[in-house]
């Protein structure tokens, strides 16, 4: 088997494996559900995620140790990840190949040559790493914006899968929704279509992970290059193949590393092995010696460019934070999933991969927008208006799946504040606030309390107080009372309106009595409780509605948002959760401790 066939098999295998992991990230026990599938494996293999979090937190979170394997293998065999494993790379590889397959050899050689802007990816890498590296200024992990593994993970999980799944409902009964992901979609397809312009456009010019591999590549033991011919006699040397400068090796070069040139660009080589296959003279080989033609081991970046991107990186974080979204101007709708770290620590770890949003069984975790600050983009935020039921009480899936522990893997006991956490109490995501101007029992004198019914806390965080309000035009004049029927002077009552079990009537100085039926000009009260003293004609009777008005006990409320999700005032909800009182940050507390 040719080596490029092995490469193709590897690419297809890892791409399908990646898609499979996307599909099975559904909470459940079936074969096609989460069970024990290592759905984070690609993210964990990603050394950029590992390096980024090392720079911000000075720790390497458990699963990310896999990245070490990638780094070790890269230093031995070269930048294999790009052409053998990376699902994003494979996608670009295929589209670039397919889109340009009709071009002539000369055109292809031209297409795949090295271009100066390939250095941009190194600047991007330096920029992001220095954003992350200086805790004294402010460390912010933004590399996930362009890191290919989080990028393709969120593109597949938050855009492609939900669209495809609409027709089969394999991953969700009601279909999945993600707010504002058209931006993710636009970026994804732009990167894919750019391959028609230049194959592996993203890999060559943008990919910061590729840049990191490019830097590591200089240490690689094996590398691509022109063979050193070791031949005994002068005669043999003459008849042996020598490079005839046909440039065929650059025809399908995926990295633009110029194997035919005088100097092989080691850092750009993505180890596609196409040159090896294309070389008809058998000159190109995969070897430990440097290329006969010489090689450039370092990335093509100038000192000036390096310093500029470094400085921009350091400058960017405080610049972004001028909005003071981490201080007094924090955005109250940034409600983080249970177990999320305090905001500053959270931003040091979140790589915007969207795994928590994918796995969340209720679909309440959404990609954040920029109204919570630029750094908030695509980080997990709860939106109780989307999904099947706010944050589900008996669920901790998001923290279990988070590859960087931006959301800690908490236990149910910790979330609910039971067992050893009884003293600390449950994790609060925020607090529900009642909008009395919109709430049916408060503003419209209509019974409701759906919020109370659905509050999952015991004892409930939403409680009610009973009150009886005289309804509009509810003071009537009695004509005659017989048995349990009260005839009124007014003859325009709405038929049966007071028969719902929620209406009562009261004659001054008497007890309140439940109405069981009414006609246009009479009211029937419950026969269980008849008048002791029959009211006389001409006296007044008040029709009242019994209301249970909801209140939120902020000491009990955990901010799960089920009330907001269920509130029948469906536009702007009459009860809404905002992040005040969240457990994770001390400076957003609302309550005094007793």
């Amino acid at each position: 088997m040719k080596i490029i066939q092995a490469r193709r098999i590897s690419q297809v295998f890892f791409f399908l494996l990646f898609v499979w992991f996307c599909i099975v990230s559904t909470v459940g026990e079936k074969l096609w559900q989460l069970r024990g599938w290592p759905v984070n494996w690609f993210l964990q293999l990603d050394p950029l995620a590992a390096l980024g979090t090392i720079l911000t937190t000075h720790t390497l979170y458990r699963g990310l140790l896999w990245a070490l394997a990638t780094v070790i293998l890269t230093t031995v065999v070269g930048r294999f990840f790009c052409s053998w494993v990376c699902p994003f790379g494979s996608l670009h590889h295929f589209v670039g190949f397919w889109g340009n397959r009709r071009k002539s050899v000369a055109q292809k050689i031209q297409l795949n040559k090295y271009r100066k802007p390939q250095r941009i990816k190194y600047f991007i890498l330096v920029f992001f790493l220095f954003m992350a590296a200086f805790p004294s200024v402010a460390a912010s992990l933004q590399v996930g914006l362009l890191d290919p593994i989080p990028l393709i993970t969120r593109s597949f999980n938050l855009v492609l899968l939900p669209i495809v799944d609409r027709s089969v409902n394999l991953t969700s009964v009601a279909g999945r929704f993600y707010e504002g992901v058209w931006v993710i979609l636009a970026i994804f397809f732009t990167t894919v279509f750019l391959n028609l312009l230049i194959p592996r456009f993203y890999c060559r010019f943008i990919c910061p992970l590729g840049a990191l591999f490019g830097v590591i590549n200089r240490f690689a033991i094996w590398r691509i290059g022109k063979k050193q011919l070791v031949l005994r006699s002068e005669l043999l040397r003459r008849v042996a193949n020598e490079c005839i400068n046909c440039k065929l090796c650059e025809k399908s070069c995926e990295g633009g590393c110029e194997p035919a040139g005088n100097m092989m660009r080691i850092s750009e080589c993505v180890l596609c092995f196409n040159c090896l296959d294309d070389c008809e003279e058998n000159i190109i080989s995969y070897q430990t010696q440097p290329s006969l033609a010489g090689e450039i081991t370092n990335p093509d970046i100038s000192r000036r460019g390096f310093i500029l991107s470094l400085a921009s990186g350091i400058f960017a974080v405080p610049a972004v934070r001028l909005s003071n979204k981490l201080g007094s101007n924090w955005y109250h709708r940034v409600i983080r999933p249970p177990g999320a770290l305090a905001e500053k620590e959270f931003l040091k770890r979140c790589i915007k991969c969207g795994q928590c949003m994918r796995v969340c069984p209720t679909n309440v975790i959404q990609p954040g927008g920029i109204d919570g600050g630029l750094e908030n983009l695509w980080t997990p935020v709860l939106n109780n208006r989307i999904g099947s039921s706010g944050c589900q009480l008996n669920c901790v899936a998001c923290g279990q799946v988070c590859p960087t522990s931006a959301i800690r893997p908490i236990t149910l006991s910790e979330k609910l504040g039971t067992d050893e956490f009884a003293e600390v109490g449950p994790i609060k995501l925020g607090t529900a606030f009642l909008d009395r101007g919109r709430c049916l029992p408060w503003a419209m004198d209509k019974p409701c309390i759906v919020c109370e019914e659905n509050c999952p806390v015991s004892p409930k965080a939403i409680y009610t107080q009973e009150c009886f309000n005289t309804i509009r035009d509810g003071i009537l004049t009695i004509k005659k009372v017989s048995d349990n029927t009260i005839e009124t002077i007014e003859d325009n009552l709405s038929l049966g309106k007071f028969a719902t079990g929620d209406y009562y009537c009261v004659v001054e100085g008497d007890e309140r009595r439940k109405i069981v039926a009414n006609t246009e000009n009479s009211i029937k009260i419950s026969p269980d409780k008849l008048f002791e003293k029959i009211p006389t004609g001409g006296s007044k009777i008040e029709v009242q509605v019994r209301l249970q008005r909801p209140y939120v006990d902020i000491e009990k409320c955990i901010g799960c948002g089920v009330c907001e999700h269920e509130c029948p005032v469906s536009g702007k909800k009459a009860i809404r959760v905002s992040a005040e009182g969240e457990t994770r940050s001390d400076d957003r507390k609302l309550l005094l401790k007793h």
Partner: protein, 332 residues
């Protein structure tokens, strides 16, 4: 696409071109004529296909309408209660398809009693298959919380599947619009219909739970799970909607589980301390009667639950369960 040189247009070409132009104009004109709408849309509401839920009830048998079995083991009390009504064979015939509608409203573990007990549901499934010789049993609900999570965490999904039932989750295409004759609220409203379309029998299973708005949640309130759409707005008139649901759904049998009763913090519960053992299980073909008896376990009377009298008035059943001469039994 054809390419043309700069040559002068001949007569023949001109005629061909004019012909093509004529066809284009005729086609555009025809389409416009056929689709021409002088009035505009009427109400903006699409006409939905309307359905009616069939009547699943079995023939009335004097003295075998309701049975009440006392005991702590649900499987035993269930078997006893059904036996007293004439056995499952009375309700499920050979080769029939049965739908079971347990209360699976919340994503809550079984021990908290916010949902129907999984063992109880599984036993009903087993009875349908083993003694009722049912061809197929489905277990379905449209829960309040996330459906898949509800079936998973309540234990009902696993227990019912293990007993051989098919779990049907409330996918959007399974809802159809209905209008209840004589109803005021259920008008042109989506209900969870498709799973019940082709079944022969329907069995409801509900725990007895405190419910702040309605007073109590039992077998009649359990039919709330058949409503789709923005069903929460019906809480404005909870008694009427529960009564209308009881009018709409005519089950074969209902099972009201008062083995452990949720006395407080209902209908979600959330703590074992919200539950109280009452060791009672009721089976009935009359859900009004079952609920009228069941509410006593919560310390309520019929007059506390307006929906019971409303349903009685609509001839759904009787609140005077004593008149049915319920059969009492104790399982030791």
């Amino acid at each position: 696409m054809s390419e043309q040189s700069g040559k002068k247009l001949g007569r023949r070409q001109l005629l061909i071109r004019a012909g093509k132009a004529g066809i284009s104009i005729a086609a555009a004109g025809t389409v416009s004529y056929l689709l021409y709408d002088a009035k505009g849309p009427k109400t903006g509401v699409e006409d939905e296909e309307h359905v009616t839920l069939q009547d699943f009830s079995v023939q009335h048998r004097l003295g075998q309408t309701m049975s009440i079995a006392k005991g702590s083991d649900r499987v035993e009390t269930l078997n006893k209660a059904i036996e007293l009504l004439g056995g499952i064979e009375r309700f499920v015939r050979h080769g029939e398809t049965v739908a079971i509608k347990p209360n699976v409203a919340f994503a809550s573990p079984p021990m908290l009693g916010a949902t129907a007990n999984p063992e109880l549901v599984a036993e009903v499934v087993r009875l349908c298959y083993s003694r009722g010789k049912a061809k197929k049993v489905i277990v379905t609900d449209n829960p309040i919380n996330d459906p898949a999570s509800c079936f998973m965490l309540s234990g009902i999904g696993k227990a019912a599947s293990a007993a051989g039932a098919e779990i049907v989750l409330p996918k959007a295409h399974l809802f159809k619009h209905t209008t209840l004759t004589g109803g005021r609220l259920i008008k042109n409203w989506p209900i969870f219909f498709e799973p019940f379309k082709k079944v022969n029998k329907l069995i409801g299973i509900a725990p007895i739970k405190n419910h702040h708005r309605a007073g109590a949640s039992m077998t009649m309130k359990n039919w709330y799970g058949l409503l789709g759409g923005r069903r929460n707005i019906f809480h404005q008139d909870i008694n009427t909607i529960i009564a209308e649901l009881a009018m709409m759904v005519r089950p074969t049998l209902v099972i009201l589980d008062g083995t452990e009763v949720m006395m407080t913090n209902g209908p979600t519960g959330g703590s074992i301390s919200d539950l109280k053992r009452a060791n009672t299980l009721i089976a009935s073909t009359d859900c009004v009667a079952a609920d009228s008896y069941g509410c006593s376990l919560l310390g309520l009377t019929v007059s506390d639950l307006s929906y019971l009298t409303k349903a009685e008035k609509a001839n759904v059943g009787t609140t005077d369960y004593e008149s049915l001469k319920p059969i009492f039994a104790t399982v030791s």
